[in-house]
């Protein structure tokens, strides 16, 4: 595919392939910049997606690229509106694969109700990119009165987890050479802005939201504890984990607390509103297995402690590097 150097071939790629898949009035103008009319507090985020393999059970790099950025916006309480989309394509990527990814992006952005308004593609030599890398940036508007941040967690807040942990990481791992195991488990990759909107409607006292992606729940809780200068206490028995994830983690010596998720969130909510928020979450497709897993405390700022199944306590630290399968 020799399309990345501007001129007629690139134009053809953009028009036929990308526009065909992603059409909306703003993108169709084909201007160098999308001109948007936005008033209010803007949330702005960007992320690059390099997942391997690019197709995995339950999703693909395209769906991931939309959800990841939509979710980052949603975690500030913003309503996601517009995305940019940039592709770096390795020479040799099959046209069919590209079309599948684009279709996935289109379907996911429709589900999340966001528009992709500007984009870019580059083609690089074989070996210079791992089939496909995607970067997305996103813009959203934060409604008045919403002030959600990782530094706002307060002592007494309840910690609510939206569902099972470890699904994405294990689904991707099941495809890696040298680790073969088969499972019906798919990635949990999903746009959470709908869920967040429901939660905000149920309560004005959601203080912090974050999606536990790379590094898992443990890393995310540590980040919030440090940012908010509080400690967080959770209970092992309250954390939902699918059998398949448990089985794979037991076999490979991994801890679900450190495995990546792409369709889950953790919320710090004022204690009086926790039950109401929980009930509302459970009515949403992406919050069916939501549960209160712990609470925020004032002592030992930055520390995360877990009450183990047998009733003792231990510290839950941040992840260092990638969780590697082990035999010992």
């Amino acid at each position: 595919m020799a399309h990345g150097s501007g001129g007629k071939l690139a134009h053809e790629l953009i028009e036929k392939t990308f526009l065909g898949a992603l059409s909306n009035p703003l993108l169709a103008r084909l201007d160098d910049s999308a001109v948007l009319d936005c008033k209010g507090r803007l949330a702005f985020t960007t992320d690059s997606y390099v997942v391997k393999p690019i197709f995995f059970p339950g999703g693909d790099i395209g769906r991931l690229a939309v959800c990841g950025t939509v979710n980052d916006l949603a975690m500030s309480g913003a309503v996601p509106l517009y995305l940019s989309l940039a592709f770096i394509i390795e020479e040799g990527l099959l046209r069919d694969d590209l079309n599948r990814i684009l279709a996935s992006i289109q379907a996911t952005s429709r589900e999340a109700d966001v528009q992709i308004v500007t984009g870019d593609t580059k083609v690089v030599d074989r070996g210079s990119a791992d089939r496909l890398f995607i970067n997305t940036a996103g813009l959203g508007l934060i409604p008045d009165g919403v002030d959600i941040s990782g530094s706002n967690a307060r002592p007494g807040d309840k910690v609510i987890l939206s569902g099972t942990i470890g699904d994405h990481g294990i689904a991707v791992l099941s495809q890696r050479e040298g680790l073969s195991f088969s499972t019906a488990l798919g990635s949990d990759c999903a746009p959470l802005n709908g869920l967040v909107a429901e939660m905000i409607r149920a309560s004005q006292r959601i203080h912090a939201l974050r999606d536990p992606t790379r590094g898992g729940l443990a890393t995310t809780l540590n980040e919030i504890a440090a940012q908010s200068k509080v400690s967080i206490r959770i209970e092992e028995e309250k954390i939902p984990v699918r059998d398949e994830v448990r089985g794979a983690c037991e076999m490979l010596g991994l801890d679900p607390l450190y495995v990546a998720n792409e369709g889950k969130l953790v919320a710090m909510v004022a204690p009086g509103d926790a039950e109401v928020v929980l009930a509302r979450m459970r009515r949403n497709a992406y919050g069916r297995e939501a549960s209160i897993i712990g609470e925020v405390q004032p002592d030992h700022p930055g520390r995360v402690v877990m009450k183990t199944r047998i009733g003792a306590s231990r510290i839950v630290d941040m992840l260092v590097g990638d969780p590697l399968p082990r035999i010992c």
């Binding site: 040298g178 010596g253 199944r309 047998i310 003792a312 306590s313 590697l324 035999i327 010992c328």
Partner: protein, 362 residues
Amino acid sequence: MKFVDEFRSSELAQRLVHSIRHHSTRRARFMEFCGGHTVTIMKHGIRQLLPSTIEMLSGPGCPVCVTDNADLDKAIALARVPRVILTTFGDMLKVPGSRASLQEARAAGADVRIVYSTLDALQIARDNPARPVVFLGIGFETTAPTVAASVLQADQEGVHNYHVLSLHKLCPPVIKTLLDSGEVRLHGLICPGHVSAVIGSNAWEFISRDYGIPCVVSGFEPLDVLQCVHMLVSQVERSESRVEIAYRRGVRPEGNRRALELMDRVFEACPARWRGMGSVPATGLRFREAYRRFDAESAFDFDPGPTLEPKGCICGEVLRAVRTPRDCQLFGKACTPASPVGPCMVSSEGSCAAYYLYGGVE
């Protein structure tokens, strides 16, 4: 999960702890030899629950931690031999050798691949007939028979490009060496559960008989470890020293004869270098003549370079249980899981990593 969940019962655990506290009157020092036991103890917070009469020590039972720099350098040098595919368990990837780790060698272009099993390494060898595949063989008697089995399978199928670098080690003789050194005084030994599944509980008889130390073979769930401690406490209170199996569902006195037979067919005992202990006789495994063609050490021309030990690192002493991680000047400062100096911090079951990650809560 069957055979797992029942052994994590919170209620039983708490009542067992209660019973241990009730019965333990004499001060006792128990060593958990096996890194997996260290992890169970730390991960479930068992140390906090035990009475102050009991002191727990971690021994050199982490195959990653006890791998000497010189041996690790061999693995890295092999990975750098042109066209070699080096396959390894994930545990070894980040351990620093004299100059680099396998992960760093990979970043610099070596073909290093993580596998869960030698079965996967064999498959890589079948899929790449024109390239030599080397499997980095670490682990004790639990793992060595599986590697021996892979060699026999390669032999039977004619997979000529499969090789193994044997860094396998044996447990009972190294524990004997530890006890003979007189550096550590123990009142009980928590014997490794899965090594014992292979070698049998009979393999530990010499410790109770000749050293008067009670030995109990333990499984890896929290209830298993608590049961084991309970049994050791009973022996200590009654001044007994016997070998008992707590992990009865997985271990028999005679072990797994077939596994031992396969291991013995391919390998024979030899001296091995243990980090912090130097060369210990009869604690390593090398290829027998009949299978020497699978030995990576003799099949390739490679130079591991001079061996360097990291300054200030006391992993060796931690492994011999004469110092704890907190005694180390580098612990938590220059040496952390993010930038480990020694293997005890890299391996998820190394004492230092366990102390660092699971800490302990008042």
